[in-house]
Every structure is written in C-alpha cells, then in structure tokens.
Amino acid sequence: MLALLLALHAVLALAAPALGRRLGPRVFLVCALAPGATAAWAATQAAGVLDGSATTQVLPWVPGLGLDLALRLDGFALLMVALVSGIGAVLFAYSRWYFSPRPGLGRFAGVLTAFAGSMLGVVLADNLLLIYVFWELTSITSYLLIGFEDEKGSARAAALQAILVTGAGGLAMLAGFVIVGQAAGTYSLSGILADPPGGGVVGAGLVLVLVGACTKSAQVPFHFWLPAAMAAPTPVSAYLHSATLVKAGVYLIARFAPAFAAGHAFWRPLVMGLGVATMLLGGWRALRQHDLKLLLAYGTVSQLGFMVVLVGAGIPELTFAGAALIVAHGLFKAALFMVVGIVDHQAHTRDLRVLSGLGRRMPGVAAVAAVAAASMAGVPLLLGFLSKEAAYEGLLHAHLGVGGSLALAGVVVGSVLTFAYGARFVLGGFGAGFGESAGGGDPVGPDVARPAPAFVVPAALFAVLTVVAGVAPALVDPLVGGGAGALDAAAGKAHLALWHGFTPALGLSVLTLAAGALLVAGAGTVERVQARLAGAPSAAGVYSSALVGLNRLADRVTAVLQNGSLPVYLGVILLTVLALPGLALLTRTRLPGGVVVGESPLQVVVAGVVLAAAVGAAFARRRFAAVLFLGGVGYGVAVLFVIQGAPDLALTQLLVETLAVVIFVLVLRHLPERFEPSAWRLGQATRVAVAGGVGVFVAAFSLVAAGARTAEPVSGAYLEQAVPEAGGQNVVNVILVDFRAFDTLGEITVLTVAALGIVSLVQAGRRQQDEA
C-alpha cells in the first residue's frame, strides 16, 4: 500500500500537464487526490501505528548495493505524513483559488504533486540510500517549483541558489550515509538506529549527514537560500515552509539524535548551537522585513532553529517537545502563508508599510492571521503555547550544564523575538498606520476586494485546528506522543497539558510574552538598531562571492590549461609520459643480456643514413627537400627490414613510401616552396629538449622492454601450423590473411574510411573552385 501511494503521486504528476490544459486551475483538485488518499489511508493505520507497531513494505531493488525499496510507517513517519499529505491536500485545494488560469499550470501542478510524493518518500523510506534518492528528488522538484515564474531573473537565481546549496549538502549527506551504513553493516535506517555504530569514522559520517540536514533545513550558515526561495508562488512557499522541504532536515536530525547524541561529544554542542544561532538570527532578521512573505520566511528560519534545538538534543522530553512543535508549526505556518497569499492576491502588495486598515476590510482573514501568529508566539490556549511550554520544561530539566543553560537562554530570547515579529506581521498587515513613518507610497487597504469564502476556508481550517488542539490537548496528544515514542521510547510517555501548575516554565512563558510586548512597543528603536547593523557581512554575500570566485577560478584554470595551442597540449602530454612511465623506467633499468651493437656493419651504416635523412627532414627549409629526406628515411628503413629478415615488410615499405612521396608532391605543389617562420609559443630550446627526452625514453624503453620478456613467443605455433592449417609457406602472409584475418579486415576498413575522407576533402575543395 505504501508503494502504491507513492506510485499514485507519480501517476498524477505525469498526468497533470495534460489535465491542466483542460481543467485549468481545477487540476489542483485532481492532484489533491494523491495527498488526500495518503492522509486518509494513514488515518486508518493510526491506531495501530501510534501504539508502536510499524507498517512496513519491502520491495527488492538493487540488492547488490543494499538498496531496497524499504518503506516503513511508524509513529514519527505517521506524524510527518499527517503534515506532508494532510496539509498538502488542503494546500492543493487552496491553490485552485490562488491561481488564475495561465499556461504551464498543469506542469506546475504535476511538479507540486511529484514534490509531495518525494517528500512522502523521504519520511517513509527505511533505507539510507532510498532516503537520499527521495531527498534529491525533493531538491530537484523544489528547484522547479521555486523557479516556476521562469521569466523572472530573480526566481531563476533563487531556484539555482536553492538547488546549489541543498544539492551540495545532499552530496555531503550521501557520503555520510555511506560511512555510517558501512560502519553499521546495513543501510536499513531502523536497523542502524536500533544498533548504532560508534567510533571516530562514524562521527565524521554523522557530521556529513548533519551538513546535509542543515542545508535542507536552512540552519546557519546555510539559511540564506530559504528567504530567497520566496520567489516561488505562495502556495508553494506555504507547503515548503510549513510541512515539507525544510522539515526534511529536522526529520533526519530527529531520527538520528536519540541514537547518536549521547555517544558523540560533538553532537549536542554542534546541533543545539547551530539551532540556537539560527533561531536568533532568523528572528532578528524577521523583525526588519517589510515584505510580509519575507518576514514569514525569516520566521521559518528561526522556528527551524528552534526545532533543531529540541529534536537535536536527543533527550526524551525535548524530543517530545520537538514533535509537538513540528505539528504546531505545520499548522500555524501554513495558515500564515495562506493569509499572505490572500493579501497578495487581493491587494497586489505584501509591503506592510503600504497595507493599512486591511483588518476592517477582511476581518475573517485578520482573525486567522491573529490566531496563527499568536500560536507561533506561544500565547496560551493555542497549540504553539503547549509546545513551547513543553520545550521550556524539557530544557529546564535537561541537565546539560552550562550549554543547557545557554540553550535555554537562547530559546527564550528567540521566543521573545518570535512574539515581536508575529505581532509585527499582524499589526503591519492588518492594523492601521503601522510603519507609515518609514514611508512606502500611498496606503492600500480599505478598498481592497474581499476574498472568495472558499479561498479563506483552508487557512481558517488550520486556525481552528490550532485553537481546538490548544484547548483540548488530548486530541493531538496521541499523535505527538506516538510520533515522539517512535523516535525514543522514553519520549512517548510525556503528555501535553494545558496547565502544569505554577512552574518555572510558566514563569518563562510569562516573561517571554511580557518581553515580546515590550519589544513591539519599542518597534521604532528596534528598527533604528537594525538599520545601523545592516552592513554586517551576510552568508548570502559569502555565497555569491564564492560563486563568483568559482567562476573566476574556472576561467583561470581554463586559460592556463586550455590555451588553444596544439604544440603546448602535445608538449604537456609528452612531458607527462616522461614524468610518469619515464620515472618508472629509471627505477628498473635492468638491461637484457645478449645485447649486440649491430647484426652487421651494413646495418650500422644504413642506420646512420636513416638518421641523417631524418635530421635533414627536420631542418630542411624547403618543403620538397623535407619530403625527399622523408623518402630517404622510408627507403632506408626498408633496407633495415631486409637485414632483419623481413622481406615482406621491405616490399610493402618500398611500395608505400613511393606512393606517399607521390601524394606529398601532389599536395605540396600547391603550397609555398619554403616553410614560413611563424610565431612560437614554445621556444626552440623547449621543443628540442622535449624531443630529446622522448627519444631517450623510447630508446631506453625498447631495450628494457625487450629484456622483460618472460613467456615463449607465440610465433612458434604459427610457424608450425602455417603449412598444415593454412596451406601457406610465407608465415607473415598466413598470419595476415588467415590467423589474424579480422585484424586485416579492420585495417582495410581504416583504409576505406581514410580514402572516403580524402575524396570528400578534395571534392569539397573542387566544388568551391567551380563555383568561383
């Protein structure tokens, strides 16, 4: 069934482009079938799965690589499926209202469906390599989603940035998976977590996995791609931010932390440190955004940091709080993004300096925004408050020493910032006159068209759920508890509660709300401080200068290595020959026995003649002279063949040499008589040195190679078999036309191809002359 649901996503994704042409925006309702069916099926499984019995399905794929299509629905996977498919189905319905009919919508719906399926795969996969496959599929599909409005340069740049950052992280993660999988002896996720491997190498692998998770979940210093990804249409942003893409990293950290956090000393300082830094940075940045969507994007960065702190600690209470926060965040962030979509759709702006009095015009939307933002800020009676209480409670009792206190302080400050930017969102978007002092043109608000009710319903649904779950925690408690219990059995015993009594955690919550309210009241001061610090170096700047630097480096390397000069390329190749095989030759200069100077005085004399002719060919000034010297070399070599006992070779050589000289003459009669001196990049001395080196190398090689013979020559058999098997006495001829006839066939083919090439080259020239 699990595989079937994934297949349903794939089928609908493929069918969507065709459907989109007919149905227009209604194609989203058809595609909603896939996440809808998944959510419905998951609901039927919930009772058993949340009690701790997982539903699994294994299809062998590449058994040799340990790669199975292993799917597993346990409590935490169910929690994620509820978000991915539950929120997904609602967002598909919302998209039907958000988009006006336009070309390419079907393709977009298809990619969105494929993305939903990939994300589903990430949370269901029980094999590290399979997780990686789905993980990269989410990277690719999110690239297409972010870059949907491909006529905009900013959208293309944002999409490229997202895929470069998450793709690089994904590769690091793959390496980490391989290290961890090899150390564990299995790639099964549940198997590894049940019996985690230890040791320094595994630690390195975990760091690589964390790099992948941090790029995906936009942790410092990889956070910058997420706000830029706002170039995507709002439903996509809502989906990416609330339920899917960015939660993939959190998901992975949550899976790994209970098994590995205690065993590796670096884990908690690294993961929780990054989480706190991300939470603070995101919250601080969110406070100075004027674009509502960008404000939410930085808010997501901040909340992701919060989640990483909780699920990354590997402590049962915090794991439980993290699971609660994942659910709460999915609901309120989806609602907030949908609100931004509605505002953008109706008012055609998202600038909170321009928007004014929108709350009176669309009170329903404003109420949804207020509830969702309040949940994010941790106001009591809402789901967000419950998760934040649980987080404070867990951090207070975590016994992590100074680091734990720092983490608690960071989370409290981050929550204060969260309250402040949440208020900024609601007041700026729907209040009257917020931020007008900054100046941003004529206010927009009172005369905006009201949204269609069906457009608001999905967002309202999430707001209602937030309230209901906040008032009656028992409704979500099984989901959160079952999810946390699947990560860490001890974490499943905790419960969400509306009232814990007068505890230190409650005090921190009150402190958070009070400090947050102060920060909102002093918004003007905050903006001034922000403006003063704006010049600080940012990770986005580092990214772009790294990209520019990479291009420059590539240019430089190209300019040096690929300078366009054929002699230089050849020189490099030859020097490599001298450096590598040449050095190897020097280390084993064992000369063979039985070396003679020459077979006869004649051989020495002829060799001298050949050498003289070759040198003459090299230094001749006239073309004809060079060709005649070349002929001299050829005829001399023919004589050497005779002396060596190879009359067939000598005959062939004579024939070929004569033909070659004729062809040379035919061509050279067109060319100038003398060689033109030309500009050289390689100096004369360099060329002579390289040539001399090659000569010495070949001579030494021929001597050493001849001495390295260990086996009997195969020729003995040829000599014996020539007459009885092939009926020929000339053994060389028999080899060519009988024993190795296929070689000769190949040789003939080469000659035919060369002849065809020559004919067409000459003919092409002739045609041009005729036309001229």
Binding site: A559, G564, G598, V615, V667, V696, A706, V714
Partner: protein, 124 residues
C-alpha cells in the same frame, strides 16, 4: 637485442616529436611519418635478433625471424600510410580555404584567456 636499432628508434622518435611540435601542418605530417617509421622498427625490435625470413622451406639457414611482429608492423605501415594521406588531404583543404597550412590556436580558447586577462586587469 640490437643496440644500433634501439638508438635509431629513439632518434626517429626524437625527430618525429620535434616536428610534431611545429605549427606547419606539412612538418607535422612529416613528423608523424618519421615517428611511424620509428614505431615499425620498434615492433620489429621487440621480436628479437635478426633471422631467416619466415618462409617455410625458404632459402637460407638458421632460426627464423619472429613472424608476428612482422605481421603487426606490416599492418602498421599500411595504416600509417592511410593517416599520412588523410592528413595531407586536410593540409590541402586548409590551403584551399586559407592559403596556408598553419595549425592555428583555437579561437574560442584564446577568447577565454583574453577574458581572464581583462578580469585581472580590472581587479588590479
């Protein structure tokens, strides 16, 4: 093992390499042909000492020369000839189009190098 042939092979390779590193296509072709002669001799040299021509019941006495390297060299001679002829056709074509037979630098590669130089000048 025949020293004089080994030295000659090395010398032919050296001269061939020298000519290959030139820019005139005619010289490059000549260099390739000379290197080809060196290669054929190298093959023959690998067969060991000289001997009677490998013809069963042929004239002469003593052991046969190794026939296998001879067969290989025979093939190589013919292939070298094919390549030489093809390169000469290319040189002819080059002359028809541009009235010379120079091997020019790759234009695109030179453009990239110029680009880098310009960037560096801008930086400094």
């Amino acid at each position: 093992m025949i020293l004089v042939l080994a030295l000659l092979v090395g010398a032919l390779y050296a001269v061939g390499t020298y000519l290959l590193l030139q820019r005139t296509l005619t010289r490059v072709v000549i260099g390739l042909a000379i290197m080809g002669h060196g290669a054929n001799l190298l093959l023959l040299l690998a067969g060991g000492r000289a001997g009677r021509a490998p013809i069963v019941d042929g004239p002469g006495a003593g052991p046969f020369a190794d026939p296998l390297p001879q067969a290989l060299a025979l093939t190589a001679i013919v292939i070298t000839f094919g390549i030489t002829a093809f390169l000469l056709a290319l040189a002819y074509r080059s002359w028809l189009l541009r009235s010379d037979d120079e091997v020019e630098d790759d234009v695109e590669d030179r453009r990239i190098a110029r680009l880098v130089r310009r960037h560096e000048e801008n930086d400094s």
